[in-house]
Amino acid sequence: MELTLWTYEGPPHVGAMRIAASMEGVHYVLHAPQGDTYADLLFTMIERRDRRPPVTYTTFQARDLGGDTAELVKSSIAAAVERFQPEALLVGESCTAELIQDQPGSLAATMDLGGIPVVSLELPAYSKKENWGGAETLYQLVRGLLKAQVPPPGEPKPDPTRWRAEGRRPRVNLLGPSLLGFRCRDDVREISQLLAGYGIDVAVVAPLGARPADLMRIPTADANVSLYPELAGPVCSWLERSFGMQMVKTVPIGIGATAAFLRELHGVLGLELPAELETAADGTCAAERRSRLPWYSRSVDSTYLTGKRVFIFGDATHAIAAARIASRELGFKVVGLGSYSREQAREVRAAAQELGLEALISDDYLAVEAAMAEAAPELVLGTQMERHSAKRLGIPCAVISSPLHVQDVPARTSPQMGWEGANVIFDSWVHPLMMGLEEHLIGMFRHDFEFVDGHLSHLEGASAPAKHPTATATATAPAPASIPGDGVIVWSPDGEAELAKIPFFVRGKVRKNTEAYAREQGLALIDSEALYEAKAHFAP
């Protein structure tokens, strides 16, 4: 039993719903009580879908439990098949139905459903979560549909360069994009265009927009691109094992990753690497000029970004990508990296280690908030929940990952992947940072007569800018330090005044460091001098 106040991921059957709702021609019969129909609103409200997810719930009640819930499952399946005429049917159960063990999958197998493919989903609700459920569903569905096509063992693997002999353009599948995934809709468009530019076609995008018949065409492609490993990992591995289809693993988020992705893809497909993708002596390539991020980042205007402390938390794919972009492409200092994706914990840990950090793998948002406060970042890159935590701490934040809020499904095209994705990332990360700086300037100048009080910025009053940077501070009695030590440490009025001049988003950290320094030095009073001493002491 585990206390959860808020959860990053829903139960595994919500992952299955994401697959079903992303596709066309698939219907999902879910053995579940009425309350579980809440999940429809994730699609109709957050994604603003214009139709209900293709899910029939049995909505069994307590009074059904004594009777025949199995009969209810069967009649629900029959009614759903008749009404929706799906091309493939998913059958499964939510947490409660798992306990009553009606085994809807086996029940469906006994029914005459006109020969439509039926995939029975077993998603352990008490040990697994949404992304796992989505990945398992995609895998089971693809496997179920492709069973008959699996070449016998020992047969030679298809050559990913066979397109040449067949006299056609190379083609790949984009696997993983789904509803409720972060900017998937726009990433598909961006990556498809990117590939088209290199003469590579997209065979199947799945699950987003695919029909069961499209899934059956998966093996006609020369390779698979695992665009979103959280959902596509298992199915790509299975396709590699069973069909010998190679998988492109680099996720093209950021400049370096997009270039690496293109190189990997060219390598797998046996395409000659275009000159613009070749790495020059200085480590750059000509293709990256298709994005503005590298130049914007080099421009003198961005000097102030240097060493900005960022805290990163999200799903594994986006968190790892963010850490790479932040540290290498924007010149930030990553002071925290973590993810709620336990299945990809290893990758996150490795990425953190490269940055000299220990990864935080947790689905407890309060632990994440505590780590955030401890790291005293100047920018947070996280989920909607980190946005709220950051707001409480007065730190600017940009959202980089699911779980989604309706704001994360913008009207404009706003990818994360490819060259344009890098542009979007530059804007959406740097903008809140500038807002944070302005907030600080407003705090500094609030006593100038030109300053119009009540001017609130985008931070909506989350921060409390310097309250007493002026003479009034001298009147206040010295306050005891906030942390216990050997003896009480006191801030002098001029020490407090000096502290107040420090930007609000690092003030807490400076206060803590200075007090630690004072204790170390056996100082009882922190005046402005001591603060500068401490600052010098802690300077990198």
């Binding site: 039993m1 808020w6 959860t7 409200m45 879908r49 909505t59 609700a125 979560k129």
Partner: protein
């Protein structure tokens, strides 16, 4: 599934009126479960914590219904059952005790802890009543532990509040005192206003269940007149009656007509002279009608279809038909408690089609066939219907917004008019 039957015509209180048409339907229901009511109950009682004992689905439902969290630490949470808990109930009980202890240590401000049962906890027969008893002994009065079920196999949406209040009834002190007890969560400002108005009517003591502080439960006894502010509190009402309370029947306080009749019922129970009632309430009614008027202009003659969701459907239908001039196509309700809704049924126009229960696909077929001007429905259905060109009003807003009383009647009408007004305001040519 998909059974639908006419369970007979029912004659309303007035014998000369043609009957209402009452249908019962069963099939897939598109309704939240009772856990949802935690979203407003926890706001009402800031010293209470609601601990759902359930699954990740339950946790996800409550947070999805509440929208994105903006608070540091919410006063509700879920003890998510793991595989170990399912393997042995003894372990599950120990785990629950440990978890509650940790929680209360971290949240010393909590005075009342509600253990809220869910479908999984009920199916595995985890006895939360026993757990509450055990924890109460351990905690020795420091925190009161109560339990109720918000499970989807037992309760729909607003019934969760009924079960929560029911759990508090046994703790209410007995008293003979003459008092008016308002039952059902109201927005604080609305409650203050109603109490003030009852004061003007000369009713000395007006109390509320749930109270604002979970520890300050109102008394109950033979002097208590029970006035329900919400039409979904059947079990609580019965329990209050069995504690000696006298249940007043009236339409519910939505719109000026309902609000006036509701307050008048309270006044009558204390023998307040009708002249005083008129003196206090009639100006409010008149002002309320003026507030409704601009919305009535828009709503009058428009056809309304209410899908079963919040259990407020019959009361809202009555208000929208009688005070806003709308035509009722169909009024759905998750379930129908005649005792609590007789006064509302009596006010509905003859021939009104009322459906109890739901088969969502068939109901949507009727919506499409009827093409009403406005559909009241849950969040899962609103955008899909809008995309089909049918205007909607989400029902969940109705349980979160202050809509009770004469002073709110204009706002209530506006909630429905807004959907139509917005559509009219948009043009892309």
């Amino acid at each position: 599934m998909g059974a639908s039957s006419v369970i007979g015509d029912m004659t309303t209180g007035l014998a000369e009126q043609p009957p209402l048409q009452l249908f019962k339907e069963s099939g897939q229901r598109e309704v939240f479960c009772g856990l949802t009511s935690i979203v407003w109950l926890h706001r009402r009682m800031p010293d209470a914590f609601f601990l759902v004992v359930g699954s990740r689905t339950c946790a996800h439902l409550v947070q999805s219904a509440a929208g994105v969290m903006i608070f540091a630490e919410p006063r509700f949470g879920t003890a998510i059952l793991g595989e170990r808990d399912l393997a042995g109930l003894a372990d599950a009980n120990d785990e629950l005790d440990r978890l509650v202890k940790d929680l209360l240590e971290r949240r010393p401000e909590i005075r009342t802890l509600f253990l809220v049962g869910s479908c999984p906890s009920e199916v595995i027969k985890l006895d939360l009543a026993k757990a509450a008893e055990r924890l109460n002994t351990q905690l020795a009065g420091r925190v009161m532990v109560l339990n109720y079920s918000g499970s989807g196999i037992e309760t729909t949406f607003t019934q969760g509040e009924d079960q929560a209040l029911l759990a508090m009834v046994p703790l209410m002190p007995s008293s003979e005192v003459d008092q008016l007890l308002i039952v059902g969560t109201l927005a604080d400002a609305v409650e203050d206003r109603l109490v003030q108005l009852f004061g003007r009517l000369g009713i000395p003591v007006v109390t509320s269940l749930p109270p604002r502080r979970s520890t300050e439960l109102p008394p109950i006894g033979p002097g208590t007149r029970v006035l329900l502010a919400q039409p979904f509190l059947s079990a609580t009402a019965r329990a209050l009656v069995s504690r000696g309370g006298q249940l007043l029947t009236a339409p519910y306080p939505f719109g000026v007509e309902g609000s006036r009749a509701w307050m008048a019922a309270g006044a009558a129970a204390f023998g307040v002279a009708p002249a005083l009632v008129a003196e206090v309430l009639d100006p409010l009614v008149e002002r309320g009608q003026r507030a409704i008027a601009p919305h009535r202009e828009l709503l009058a003659g428009k056809r309304l279809f209410l899908l079963p969701d919040s259990q407020l459907e019959l009361s809202l239908a009555r208000f929208l038909q009688r005070e806003c001039g709308m035509e009722l196509v169909e009024v759905g309700t998750p379930y129908l408690d005649r005792q609590l809704l007789d006064a509302e049924l009596a006010l509905l126009p003859p021939g009104t089609r009322i459906t109890e229960g739901q088969d969502v696909e068939r109901q949507l077929e009727r919506v499409r066939a009827e093409r009403p001007d406005l559909v009241v429905c849950g969040l899962g259905l609103a955008n899909p219907l809008e995309a089909e060109g049918i205007a909607t009003k989400w029902s969940i807003e109705l349980v979160f917004s202050p809509i009770h009383g004469c002073d709110q009647a204009g706002d209530l009408a506006e909630l429905f008019a807004r959907s139509l007004r917005r559509r009219a305001a948009l043009s892309f040519s």
